[in-house]
Amino acid sequence: MKALVWHGKEDIRCDRVSDPAIEHPRDAIIKVTSCAICGSDLHLFHNLVPAMLPGDIMGHETMGEVVEVGSAAKGKLKKGDRVVIPFTIQCGECEQCRRGNFSLCRQSNRKGELGDKVFGHRTGGLFGYTHLTGGYPGGQAEYLRVPFSDTTHIKVPDGIEDEKLLFLSDIFPTGWQAAVQCDIQPGDTVAVWGCGPVGQMAIRSAILLGAEQVVAIDHLPERLSMAAAAGAITINFEEESVVERLNELTGGEGPHKCIDAVGSESHVSLGQPDTLLDRAKQMLMAENDRPHVLREAIYVCRPAGVISIIGVYLGLSDKVPMGQAMNKGLTFRMAQAHVPRWTGDLLRRIEQGEIDPSFVITHKADLADGPAMYAKFRDKADGCIKVMLQP
Protein backbone atom coordinates (compact mmCIF):
# COMPACT_ATOMS: atom_id res chain seq x y z
CA MET A 1 0.00 0.00 0.00
CA LYS A 2 0.97 3.68 -0.26
CA ALA A 3 1.83 5.55 2.94
CA LEU A 4 3.48 8.81 3.98
CA VAL A 5 6.65 7.81 5.77
CA TRP A 6 8.97 9.87 8.01
CA HIS A 7 12.58 9.57 6.91
CA GLY A 8 14.05 12.42 8.94
CA LYS A 9 13.85 16.16 9.38
CA GLU A 10 11.69 17.69 6.62
CA ASP A 11 11.87 14.39 4.77
CA ILE A 12 8.46 12.80 4.23
CA ARG A 13 8.01 10.39 1.34
CA CYS A 14 5.10 8.57 -0.18
CA ASP A 15 6.52 5.05 -0.01
CA ARG A 16 5.15 1.67 -0.94
CA VAL A 17 4.94 -0.40 2.25
CA SER A 18 3.57 -3.80 3.19
CA ASP A 19 -0.07 -3.94 4.25
CA PRO A 20 -0.79 -3.95 7.98
CA ALA A 21 -1.92 -7.22 9.54
CA ILE A 22 -4.09 -8.08 12.52
CA GLU A 23 -1.78 -8.74 15.48
CA HIS A 24 -4.20 -9.01 18.36
CA PRO A 25 -7.82 -10.16 18.64
CA ARG A 26 -8.90 -6.61 19.49
CA ASP A 27 -7.35 -5.18 16.29
CA ALA A 28 -9.19 -4.15 13.15
CA ILE A 29 -7.99 -2.98 9.75
CA ILE A 30 -9.65 -0.07 8.02
CA LYS A 31 -9.42 1.04 4.42
CA VAL A 32 -8.71 4.75 4.67
CA THR A 33 -11.08 6.98 2.72
CA SER A 34 -9.77 10.34 4.03
CA CYS A 35 -6.99 11.60 6.23
CA ALA A 36 -5.45 14.95 7.05
CA ILE A 37 -2.20 16.63 8.00
CA CYS A 38 -2.31 18.03 11.53
CA GLY A 39 -0.35 20.99 12.91
CA SER A 40 1.31 18.61 15.35
CA ASP A 41 2.57 16.58 12.37
CA LEU A 42 4.74 19.61 11.67
CA HIS A 43 6.56 19.09 14.98
CA LEU A 44 7.51 15.67 13.63
CA PHE A 45 8.33 17.15 10.22
CA HIS A 46 10.73 19.52 12.01
CA ASN A 47 12.18 16.67 14.04
CA LEU A 48 11.37 18.38 17.32
CA VAL A 49 9.67 15.34 18.82
CA PRO A 50 12.05 12.84 20.37
CA ALA A 51 11.96 9.13 19.54
CA MET A 52 10.82 9.21 15.92
CA LEU A 53 12.47 6.57 13.76
CA PRO A 54 13.06 6.60 10.00
CA GLY A 55 10.36 4.38 8.52
CA ASP A 56 7.55 5.57 10.84
CA ILE A 57 4.22 6.07 9.05
CA MET A 58 2.68 9.48 9.71
CA GLY A 59 -0.87 10.53 10.39
CA HIS A 60 -3.40 10.61 13.21
CA GLU A 61 -6.48 12.13 11.55
CA THR A 62 -8.08 9.28 9.68
CA MET A 63 -11.41 7.77 8.73
CA GLY A 64 -12.47 4.89 6.56
CA GLU A 65 -14.27 1.60 6.23
CA VAL A 66 -13.66 -1.51 8.31
CA VAL A 67 -12.31 -4.34 6.16
CA GLU A 68 -11.07 -6.83 8.76
CA VAL A 69 -11.99 -7.36 12.40
CA GLY A 70 -10.14 -9.33 15.07
CA SER A 71 -12.11 -11.97 16.95
CA ALA A 72 -12.38 -9.95 20.17
CA ALA A 73 -13.69 -6.83 18.43
CA LYS A 74 -16.43 -8.54 16.45
CA GLY A 75 -19.20 -7.58 18.87
CA LYS A 76 -18.48 -3.90 18.36
CA LEU A 77 -17.32 -3.68 14.73
CA LYS A 78 -18.11 -5.44 11.52
CA LYS A 79 -16.85 -5.30 7.96
CA GLY A 80 -18.28 -2.34 6.11
CA ASP A 81 -18.73 -0.12 9.18
CA ARG A 82 -17.87 3.51 8.48
CA VAL A 83 -15.62 4.82 11.23
CA VAL A 84 -13.57 7.83 12.25
CA ILE A 85 -10.46 6.84 14.19
CA PRO A 86 -9.56 8.98 17.23
CA PHE A 87 -5.88 9.90 17.36
CA THR A 88 -5.80 8.49 20.88
CA ILE A 89 -5.78 4.72 21.32
CA GLN A 90 -7.77 3.60 24.36
CA CYS A 91 -8.48 0.31 26.08
CA GLY A 92 -11.68 1.59 27.69
CA GLU A 93 -10.99 -0.45 30.82
CA CYS A 94 -8.16 1.13 32.79
CA GLU A 95 -8.65 3.68 35.55
CA GLN A 96 -7.80 6.63 33.27
CA CYS A 97 -10.20 5.47 30.55
CA ARG A 98 -12.97 4.96 33.13
CA ARG A 99 -12.41 8.57 34.24
CA GLY A 100 -12.65 9.79 30.65
CA ASN A 101 -8.95 10.59 30.40
CA PHE A 102 -8.57 8.59 27.22
CA SER A 103 -5.31 10.16 26.04
CA LEU A 104 -3.78 8.89 29.28
CA CYS A 105 -4.86 5.26 28.81
CA ARG A 106 -2.67 2.99 30.92
CA GLN A 107 -2.71 0.03 28.55
CA SER A 108 -2.55 1.27 24.98
CA ASN A 109 1.06 2.50 24.87
CA ARG A 110 2.92 -0.59 23.71
CA LYS A 111 6.24 1.09 24.57
CA GLY A 112 5.05 2.26 27.95
CA GLU A 113 8.44 1.69 29.62
CA LEU A 114 9.85 4.47 27.42
CA GLY A 115 7.00 6.73 28.44
CA ASP A 116 7.53 5.85 32.11
CA LYS A 117 11.16 6.93 31.88
CA VAL A 118 10.60 10.16 29.95
CA PHE A 119 7.27 11.39 31.35
CA GLY A 120 7.52 9.84 34.81
CA HIS A 121 4.44 7.76 34.02
CA ARG A 122 3.26 6.54 30.65
CA THR A 123 0.57 8.23 28.60
CA GLY A 124 -1.72 6.59 26.08
CA GLY A 125 -0.81 5.25 22.66
CA LEU A 126 -1.18 7.62 19.71
CA PHE A 127 -1.25 6.92 16.00
CA GLY A 128 1.59 8.14 13.80
CA TYR A 129 3.50 9.82 16.56
CA THR A 130 6.64 9.26 18.58
CA HIS A 131 7.73 5.90 19.98
CA LEU A 132 7.22 7.50 23.40
CA THR A 133 3.52 7.04 22.67
CA GLY A 134 3.82 3.57 21.22
CA GLY A 135 5.25 4.22 17.77
CA TYR A 136 2.03 3.01 16.13
CA PRO A 137 1.94 3.32 12.32
CA GLY A 138 -0.27 6.25 11.36
CA GLY A 139 -3.21 6.74 9.09
CA GLN A 140 -1.75 8.75 6.21
CA ALA A 141 -1.90 5.52 4.30
CA GLU A 142 -4.28 3.35 2.33
CA TYR A 143 -4.87 0.99 5.26
CA LEU A 144 -4.56 1.34 9.03
CA ARG A 145 -4.42 -1.23 11.76
CA VAL A 146 -6.44 -0.01 14.74
CA PRO A 147 -5.37 -1.53 18.06
CA PHE A 148 -8.06 -1.82 20.75
CA SER A 149 -10.43 -1.24 17.87
CA ASP A 150 -13.51 -2.23 19.86
CA THR A 151 -13.07 1.00 21.85
CA THR A 152 -10.89 3.05 19.46
CA HIS A 153 -13.42 4.07 16.85
CA ILE A 154 -16.30 6.46 16.29
CA LYS A 155 -19.05 4.94 14.18
CA VAL A 156 -20.45 7.51 11.80
CA PRO A 157 -23.57 7.36 9.65
CA ASP A 158 -23.71 7.22 5.87
CA GLY A 159 -25.06 10.29 4.14
CA ILE A 160 -22.67 12.81 5.68
CA GLU A 161 -19.56 13.51 3.65
CA ASP A 162 -16.08 12.71 4.96
CA GLU A 163 -15.20 16.43 5.01
CA LYS A 164 -17.69 17.04 7.83
CA LEU A 165 -16.74 13.97 9.88
CA LEU A 166 -13.00 13.53 9.48
CA PHE A 167 -12.09 16.13 12.08
CA LEU A 168 -13.86 14.20 14.84
CA SER A 169 -10.56 12.30 14.85
CA ASP A 170 -8.65 15.20 16.38
CA ILE A 171 -8.97 18.92 15.72
CA PHE A 172 -12.68 19.31 16.46
CA PRO A 173 -12.68 17.54 19.85
CA THR A 174 -9.27 19.10 20.54
CA GLY A 175 -10.61 22.62 19.96
CA TRP A 176 -13.74 21.74 21.90
CA GLN A 177 -11.72 20.48 24.87
CA ALA A 178 -9.69 23.70 24.79
CA ALA A 179 -12.93 25.62 25.28
CA VAL A 180 -14.37 23.16 27.82
CA GLN A 181 -11.16 23.43 29.87
CA CYS A 182 -12.03 27.14 30.21
CA ASP A 183 -15.40 26.44 31.82
CA ILE A 184 -16.81 29.34 29.80
CA GLN A 185 -19.48 31.46 31.48
CA PRO A 186 -21.81 34.01 29.87
CA GLY A 187 -19.99 37.34 29.82
CA ASP A 188 -16.55 35.78 29.47
CA THR A 189 -13.92 37.09 27.12
CA VAL A 190 -11.92 34.21 25.69
CA ALA A 191 -8.61 34.95 23.96
CA VAL A 192 -7.35 32.33 21.53
CA TRP A 193 -3.71 32.45 20.46
CA GLY A 194 -3.16 30.74 17.11
CA CYS A 195 -5.68 30.59 14.27
CA GLY A 196 -4.52 27.31 12.80
CA PRO A 197 -7.02 24.45 12.52
CA VAL A 198 -7.25 23.76 16.27
CA GLY A 199 -7.51 27.48 17.06
CA GLN A 200 -10.33 27.79 14.52
CA MET A 201 -12.20 24.91 16.17
CA ALA A 202 -11.57 26.41 19.62
CA ILE A 203 -13.01 29.75 18.46
CA ARG A 204 -16.22 28.11 17.23
CA SER A 205 -16.44 25.95 20.35
CA ALA A 206 -16.10 29.05 22.55
CA ILE A 207 -18.91 30.73 20.58
CA LEU A 208 -21.14 27.66 20.95
CA LEU A 209 -20.37 27.52 24.67
CA GLY A 210 -21.52 31.10 25.09
CA ALA A 211 -18.44 33.31 25.32
CA GLU A 212 -19.43 36.96 25.03
CA GLN A 213 -16.24 37.97 23.24
CA VAL A 214 -13.81 35.69 21.46
CA VAL A 215 -10.53 37.32 20.51
CA ALA A 216 -8.35 35.58 17.92
CA ILE A 217 -4.61 36.30 17.76
CA ASP A 218 -2.37 35.49 14.80
CA HIS A 219 -0.33 37.29 12.16
CA LEU A 220 -1.54 35.62 8.97
CA PRO A 221 -4.34 37.61 7.32
CA GLU A 222 -6.03 34.59 5.77
CA ARG A 223 -6.23 32.82 9.12
CA LEU A 224 -7.54 35.95 10.83
CA SER A 225 -10.20 36.27 8.12
CA MET A 226 -11.35 32.73 8.89
CA ALA A 227 -11.47 33.54 12.61
CA ALA A 228 -13.45 36.71 11.95
CA ALA A 229 -15.93 34.66 9.90
CA ALA A 230 -17.05 33.00 13.15
CA GLY A 231 -17.47 36.32 14.91
CA ALA A 232 -14.08 36.59 16.59
CA ILE A 233 -12.43 39.96 17.16
CA THR A 234 -8.99 39.68 15.59
CA ILE A 235 -5.56 40.89 16.65
CA ASN A 236 -2.67 40.80 14.21
CA PHE A 237 0.31 40.71 16.54
CA GLU A 238 2.61 42.09 13.87
CA GLU A 239 0.49 45.24 13.67
CA GLU A 240 -0.57 45.92 17.25
CA SER A 241 0.25 45.04 20.84
CA VAL A 242 -1.63 41.95 21.99
CA VAL A 243 -1.49 42.96 25.64
CA GLU A 244 -2.70 46.52 25.04
CA ARG A 245 -5.53 45.44 22.75
CA LEU A 246 -6.72 42.67 25.06
CA ASN A 247 -6.76 45.07 27.97
CA GLU A 248 -8.62 47.62 25.88
CA LEU A 249 -11.25 45.01 24.99
CA THR A 250 -11.75 43.99 28.61
CA GLY A 251 -11.85 47.33 30.38
CA GLY A 252 -8.26 46.90 31.47
CA GLU A 253 -9.00 43.66 33.35
CA GLY A 254 -7.63 41.11 30.87
CA PRO A 255 -9.44 38.12 29.33
CA HIS A 256 -11.18 35.73 31.70
CA LYS A 257 -9.95 32.71 29.77
CA CYS A 258 -6.89 32.25 27.57
CA ILE A 259 -6.44 29.40 25.10
CA ASP A 260 -2.96 28.55 23.85
CA ALA A 261 -3.58 26.85 20.49
CA VAL A 262 0.02 27.41 19.37
CA GLY A 263 2.19 25.34 21.67
CA SER A 264 5.81 24.59 21.01
CA GLU A 265 6.48 26.51 17.82
CA SER A 266 5.58 30.15 18.41
CA HIS A 267 6.19 32.41 15.42
CA VAL A 268 9.73 33.78 15.51
CA SER A 269 10.09 37.49 14.80
CA LEU A 270 12.07 40.56 15.77
CA GLY A 271 8.90 42.01 17.29
CA GLN A 272 8.91 39.15 19.80
CA PRO A 273 12.57 39.07 20.89
CA ASP A 274 12.06 36.19 23.32
CA THR A 275 11.20 33.98 20.34
CA LEU A 276 14.62 34.67 18.80
CA LEU A 277 16.36 33.48 21.94
CA ASP A 278 14.07 30.45 22.19
CA ARG A 279 14.73 29.57 18.55
CA ALA A 280 18.49 29.81 19.04
CA LYS A 281 18.29 27.58 22.10
CA GLN A 282 16.03 25.16 20.26
CA MET A 283 18.58 24.87 17.44
CA LEU A 284 21.28 24.09 20.00
CA MET A 285 18.98 21.56 21.70
CA ALA A 286 19.14 23.65 24.87
CA GLU A 287 15.34 24.04 24.94
CA ASN A 288 12.54 22.07 23.31
CA ASP A 289 9.79 24.67 23.11
CA ARG A 290 9.26 28.32 22.23
CA PRO A 291 6.68 29.22 24.87
CA HIS A 292 6.09 32.86 23.88
CA VAL A 293 2.31 32.43 23.86
CA LEU A 294 2.33 30.91 27.31
CA ARG A 295 4.35 33.85 28.66
CA GLU A 296 2.00 36.36 27.05
CA ALA A 297 -1.15 34.56 28.17
CA ILE A 298 0.04 34.36 31.77
CA TYR A 299 0.91 38.06 31.71
CA VAL A 300 -2.36 39.30 30.24
CA CYS A 301 -4.84 36.87 31.82
CA ARG A 302 -7.20 38.30 34.42
CA PRO A 303 -6.33 37.25 38.01
CA ALA A 304 -8.10 33.99 38.93
CA GLY A 305 -8.51 33.32 35.21
CA VAL A 306 -7.91 30.10 33.31
CA ILE A 307 -5.09 29.21 30.95
CA SER A 308 -6.14 26.35 28.68
CA ILE A 309 -3.20 24.76 26.88
CA ILE A 310 -4.12 22.66 23.88
CA GLY A 311 -1.21 23.50 21.55
CA VAL A 312 1.34 20.72 21.88
CA TYR A 313 4.42 21.29 24.02
CA LEU A 314 7.26 18.85 23.60
CA GLY A 315 9.61 19.02 26.54
CA LEU A 316 11.49 21.75 28.36
CA SER A 317 10.25 25.36 28.21
CA ASP A 318 12.40 28.17 29.59
CA LYS A 319 11.43 31.43 31.25
CA VAL A 320 7.83 30.56 31.93
CA PRO A 321 6.74 33.19 34.49
CA MET A 322 5.43 30.95 37.25
CA GLY A 323 5.68 33.86 39.69
CA GLN A 324 3.07 35.79 37.76
CA ALA A 325 0.89 32.70 37.40
CA MET A 326 1.05 31.79 41.09
CA ASN A 327 0.49 35.29 42.41
CA LYS A 328 -2.43 35.87 40.04
CA GLY A 329 -4.03 32.60 41.09
CA LEU A 330 -4.37 31.27 37.58
CA THR A 331 -5.81 27.85 36.84
CA PHE A 332 -3.98 25.78 34.25
CA ARG A 333 -5.71 23.02 32.32
CA MET A 334 -3.98 21.05 29.61
CA ALA A 335 -3.91 17.67 27.93
CA GLN A 336 -3.85 15.89 24.65
CA ALA A 337 -7.55 15.74 23.84
CA HIS A 338 -9.53 12.88 25.35
CA VAL A 339 -11.21 12.44 21.98
CA PRO A 340 -13.99 9.88 22.63
CA ARG A 341 -15.12 11.79 25.70
CA TRP A 342 -16.56 14.46 23.40
CA THR A 343 -17.21 12.85 20.03
CA GLY A 344 -20.70 11.47 20.70
CA ASP A 345 -21.90 14.97 21.55
CA LEU A 346 -19.96 16.60 18.71
CA LEU A 347 -21.23 14.12 16.09
CA ARG A 348 -24.77 15.01 17.17
CA ARG A 349 -23.97 18.72 16.74
CA ILE A 350 -22.71 18.05 13.21
CA GLU A 351 -25.84 16.04 12.41
CA GLN A 352 -28.05 18.81 13.79
CA GLY A 353 -26.26 21.43 11.73
CA GLU A 354 -24.87 23.37 14.69
CA ILE A 355 -21.39 23.22 13.17
CA ASP A 356 -19.85 22.16 9.90
CA PRO A 357 -16.15 21.44 10.49
CA SER A 358 -15.42 21.25 6.76
CA PHE A 359 -15.05 25.06 6.75
CA VAL A 360 -11.39 24.63 7.72
CA ILE A 361 -10.31 22.62 4.64
CA THR A 362 -8.38 24.83 2.26
CA HIS A 363 -6.54 22.17 0.25
CA LYS A 364 -7.43 18.68 -0.93
CA ALA A 365 -4.89 16.40 -2.54
CA ASP A 366 -4.10 12.81 -3.40
CA LEU A 367 -2.13 10.91 -0.76
CA ALA A 368 0.77 10.64 -3.22
CA ASP A 369 1.06 14.44 -3.15
CA GLY A 370 1.38 14.36 0.64
CA PRO A 371 5.12 15.20 0.79
CA ALA A 372 4.59 18.40 -1.19
CA MET A 373 1.53 19.26 0.91
CA TYR A 374 3.57 18.94 4.11
CA ALA A 375 5.93 21.59 2.75
CA LYS A 376 3.04 23.79 1.61
CA PHE A 377 1.30 23.55 4.99
CA ARG A 378 4.54 24.28 6.87
CA ASP A 379 5.35 27.25 4.64
CA LYS A 380 1.76 28.50 4.98
CA ALA A 381 1.94 28.90 1.23
CA ASP A 382 -1.04 29.43 -1.02
CA GLY A 383 -3.28 30.35 1.92
CA CYS A 384 -2.97 26.81 3.29
CA ILE A 385 -4.71 26.19 6.62
CA LYS A 386 -5.83 22.57 6.47
CA VAL A 387 -4.90 19.79 4.07
CA MET A 388 -7.19 16.82 3.48
CA LEU A 389 -5.66 13.82 1.71
CA GLN A 390 -7.39 10.96 -0.06
CA PRO A 391 -5.67 7.70 -0.99
Binding site: H46, P186, P221
Partner: protein, 197 residues
Protein backbone atom coordinates in the same frame (compact mmCIF):
# COMPACT_ATOMS: atom_id res chain seq x y z
CA UNK B 1 21.71 -1.45 5.12
CA UNK B 2 19.25 1.49 4.90
CA UNK B 3 18.35 3.13 8.19
CA UNK B 4 14.69 2.42 7.58
CA UNK B 5 15.46 -1.33 7.59
CA UNK B 6 17.58 -1.08 10.73
CA UNK B 7 14.79 0.65 12.61
CA UNK B 8 12.56 -2.31 11.79
CA UNK B 9 13.83 -3.94 14.99
CA UNK B 10 11.73 -1.40 16.91
CA UNK B 11 8.55 -2.47 15.13
CA UNK B 12 6.16 -5.32 15.73
CA UNK B 13 5.38 -8.07 13.24
CA UNK B 14 2.18 -6.60 11.89
CA UNK B 15 3.62 -3.12 11.29
CA UNK B 16 4.07 -2.21 7.63
CA UNK B 17 7.65 -2.23 6.27
CA UNK B 18 9.00 -0.13 3.44
CA UNK B 19 9.13 -1.94 0.09
CA UNK B 20 10.09 0.97 -2.14
CA UNK B 21 10.72 4.63 -1.48
CA UNK B 22 8.98 7.56 -3.12
CA UNK B 23 10.17 11.10 -3.79
CA UNK B 24 11.05 13.21 -0.77
CA UNK B 25 9.58 16.47 0.48
CA UNK B 26 13.17 17.77 0.56
CA UNK B 27 14.01 19.88 -2.49
CA UNK B 28 17.42 19.88 -4.17
CA UNK B 29 18.06 23.28 -2.58
CA UNK B 30 17.26 21.81 0.87
CA UNK B 31 19.77 19.03 0.29
CA UNK B 32 22.42 21.46 -0.94
CA UNK B 33 21.84 23.61 2.15
CA UNK B 34 22.24 20.56 4.35
CA UNK B 35 25.50 19.63 2.63
CA UNK B 36 26.78 23.18 3.07
CA UNK B 37 25.83 23.06 6.74
CA UNK B 38 27.91 19.93 7.30
CA UNK B 39 30.74 21.50 5.27
CA UNK B 40 30.57 24.48 7.64
CA UNK B 41 30.98 22.18 10.61
CA UNK B 42 33.98 20.43 9.06
CA UNK B 43 35.71 23.65 8.08
CA UNK B 44 34.84 25.31 11.39
CA UNK B 45 36.38 22.47 13.39
CA UNK B 46 39.57 22.56 11.29
CA UNK B 47 39.87 26.33 11.71
CA UNK B 48 39.36 26.05 15.44
CA UNK B 49 41.77 23.15 15.91
CA UNK B 50 44.57 24.00 13.47
CA UNK B 51 44.61 27.76 12.78
CA UNK B 52 48.43 27.82 12.75
CA UNK B 53 48.75 25.32 9.91
CA UNK B 54 46.15 27.18 7.86
CA UNK B 55 47.87 30.53 8.52
CA UNK B 56 51.29 29.20 7.53
CA UNK B 57 49.87 27.48 4.43
CA UNK B 58 48.35 30.71 3.19
CA UNK B 59 51.11 33.06 4.26
CA UNK B 60 48.84 34.66 6.84
CA UNK B 61 51.13 34.32 9.85
CA UNK B 62 49.96 36.20 12.93
CA UNK B 63 46.33 35.83 11.88
CA UNK B 64 45.73 32.62 13.85
CA UNK B 65 43.27 34.37 16.15
CA UNK B 66 41.24 35.63 13.22
CA UNK B 67 41.15 32.16 11.65
CA UNK B 68 40.00 30.66 14.93
CA UNK B 69 37.25 33.29 15.11
CA UNK B 70 36.26 32.36 11.55
CA UNK B 71 36.03 28.74 12.72
CA UNK B 72 33.61 29.75 15.45
CA UNK B 73 31.65 31.74 12.87
CA UNK B 74 31.45 28.69 10.60
CA UNK B 75 30.03 26.59 13.43
CA UNK B 76 27.56 29.34 14.35
CA UNK B 77 26.28 29.56 10.77
CA UNK B 78 26.14 25.76 10.45
CA UNK B 79 23.51 25.50 13.18
CA UNK B 80 20.75 27.47 11.39
CA UNK B 81 21.85 26.11 8.00
CA UNK B 82 21.13 22.59 9.26
CA UNK B 83 17.87 23.69 10.89
CA UNK B 84 14.51 24.39 9.28
CA UNK B 85 15.53 28.08 9.15
CA UNK B 86 18.11 27.38 6.44
CA UNK B 87 17.78 30.71 4.70
CA UNK B 88 19.07 32.54 7.81
CA UNK B 89 22.03 30.16 8.02
CA UNK B 90 22.80 30.49 4.32
CA UNK B 91 22.64 34.29 4.54
CA UNK B 92 25.13 34.12 7.42
CA UNK B 93 27.33 31.84 5.33
CA UNK B 94 27.29 34.28 2.41
CA UNK B 95 28.34 37.09 4.76
CA UNK B 96 31.09 34.83 6.05
CA UNK B 97 32.22 34.08 2.49
CA UNK B 98 32.71 37.81 1.93
CA UNK B 99 34.84 38.05 5.08
CA UNK B 100 36.88 35.02 3.94
CA UNK B 101 37.48 36.58 0.53
CA UNK B 102 38.52 39.91 2.05
CA UNK B 103 40.98 38.14 4.33
CA UNK B 104 42.38 36.01 1.50
CA UNK B 105 42.82 39.09 -0.67
CA UNK B 106 45.45 40.30 1.79
CA UNK B 107 47.48 37.17 0.99
CA UNK B 108 47.47 37.64 -2.78
CA UNK B 109 50.22 40.27 -2.91
CA UNK B 110 53.41 39.39 -4.89
CA UNK B 111 55.56 39.40 -1.75
CA UNK B 112 53.72 36.40 -0.23
CA UNK B 113 55.66 33.18 -0.96
CA UNK B 114 52.41 31.23 -0.40
CA UNK B 115 50.52 33.34 -2.88
CA UNK B 116 49.70 30.28 -5.03
CA UNK B 117 48.03 28.54 -2.10
CA UNK B 118 46.08 31.70 -1.34
CA UNK B 119 44.93 31.89 -4.97
CA UNK B 120 43.68 28.30 -4.86
CA UNK B 121 41.91 28.98 -1.56
CA UNK B 122 40.31 32.10 -3.05
CA UNK B 123 39.04 30.09 -6.02
CA UNK B 124 37.59 27.46 -3.65
CA UNK B 125 35.85 30.10 -1.53
CA UNK B 126 34.45 31.69 -4.68
CA UNK B 127 33.06 28.30 -5.70
CA UNK B 128 31.52 27.73 -2.27
CA UNK B 129 30.06 31.26 -2.35
CA UNK B 130 28.40 30.41 -5.63
CA UNK B 131 26.91 27.27 -4.06
CA UNK B 132 25.73 29.31 -1.07
CA UNK B 133 24.04 31.79 -3.39
CA UNK B 134 22.39 29.00 -5.39
CA UNK B 135 21.19 27.29 -2.19
CA UNK B 136 19.91 30.55 -0.72
CA UNK B 137 17.98 31.43 -3.87
CA UNK B 138 16.59 27.88 -4.12
CA UNK B 139 15.54 27.63 -0.49
CA UNK B 140 13.83 31.02 -0.39
CA UNK B 141 12.05 30.30 -3.67
CA UNK B 142 10.92 26.83 -2.57
CA UNK B 143 9.62 27.90 0.83
CA UNK B 144 8.03 31.27 0.18
CA UNK B 145 4.39 31.79 1.05
CA UNK B 146 3.59 32.95 -2.44
CA UNK B 147 2.39 36.34 -3.59
CA UNK B 148 -1.30 35.72 -2.95
CA UNK B 149 -1.14 33.73 0.31
CA UNK B 150 -1.98 36.67 2.56
CA UNK B 151 -4.61 37.87 0.15
CA UNK B 152 -6.74 34.77 0.60
CA UNK B 153 -9.95 35.72 2.28
CA UNK B 154 -11.88 33.09 4.17
CA UNK B 155 -14.44 35.44 5.64
CA UNK B 156 -17.26 33.34 4.16
CA UNK B 157 -16.22 30.28 6.17
CA UNK B 158 -17.99 30.58 9.49
CA UNK B 159 -18.55 26.86 9.97
CA UNK B 160 -21.67 27.81 11.94
CA UNK B 161 -24.62 27.03 9.63
CA UNK B 162 -27.18 28.63 11.94
CA UNK B 163 -25.35 31.97 11.93
CA UNK B 164 -23.14 33.54 14.54
CA UNK B 165 -25.81 35.11 16.72
CA UNK B 166 -27.98 32.02 16.89
CA UNK B 167 -24.92 29.86 17.51
CA UNK B 168 -23.62 31.90 20.43
CA UNK B 169 -24.33 29.85 23.52
CA UNK B 170 -26.27 27.19 21.55
CA UNK B 171 -24.39 24.38 23.27
CA UNK B 172 -25.17 25.69 26.74
CA UNK B 173 -28.70 24.33 26.33
CA UNK B 174 -27.53 20.73 26.46
CA UNK B 175 -23.91 20.73 27.59
CA UNK B 176 -22.76 20.95 31.17
CA UNK B 177 -19.08 21.37 31.97
CA UNK B 178 -17.97 18.08 33.55
CA UNK B 179 -17.07 18.38 37.26
CA UNK B 180 -13.37 17.78 36.59
CA UNK B 181 -13.27 20.76 34.22
CA UNK B 182 -15.08 23.29 36.35
CA UNK B 183 -13.11 26.42 37.16
CA UNK B 184 -15.86 28.89 37.96
CA UNK B 185 -17.95 29.44 41.03
CA UNK B 186 -18.15 31.95 43.84
CA UNK B 187 -18.18 31.68 47.59
CA UNK B 188 -21.61 33.27 47.57
CA UNK B 189 -22.95 30.52 45.36
CA UNK B 190 -21.47 27.87 47.62
CA UNK B 191 -22.95 29.26 50.86
CA UNK B 192 -26.16 27.75 52.13
CA UNK B 193 -29.22 29.81 51.32
CA UNK B 194 -30.29 32.07 54.20
CA UNK B 195 -33.31 30.81 56.12
CA UNK B 196 -36.51 32.29 54.80
CA UNK B 197 -38.20 34.58 57.32
Amino acid sequence: MPLTNLTGIARSEGDPRIQSKGPSSLTDADRLARALGWFSIGLGVVELVAPGRIARGLGLEHKEGLIRAFGARELASAVPTLSVDKSAGLAARIGGDVLDLLTLSTALHPGNPKRGNAAVATALVLGVTLLDLVAYAGVTAAHRRGPDAGGRNYSDRSGLPKGIQESRGLARKDFKTPPDYRAEGTVAAALPAPPSS
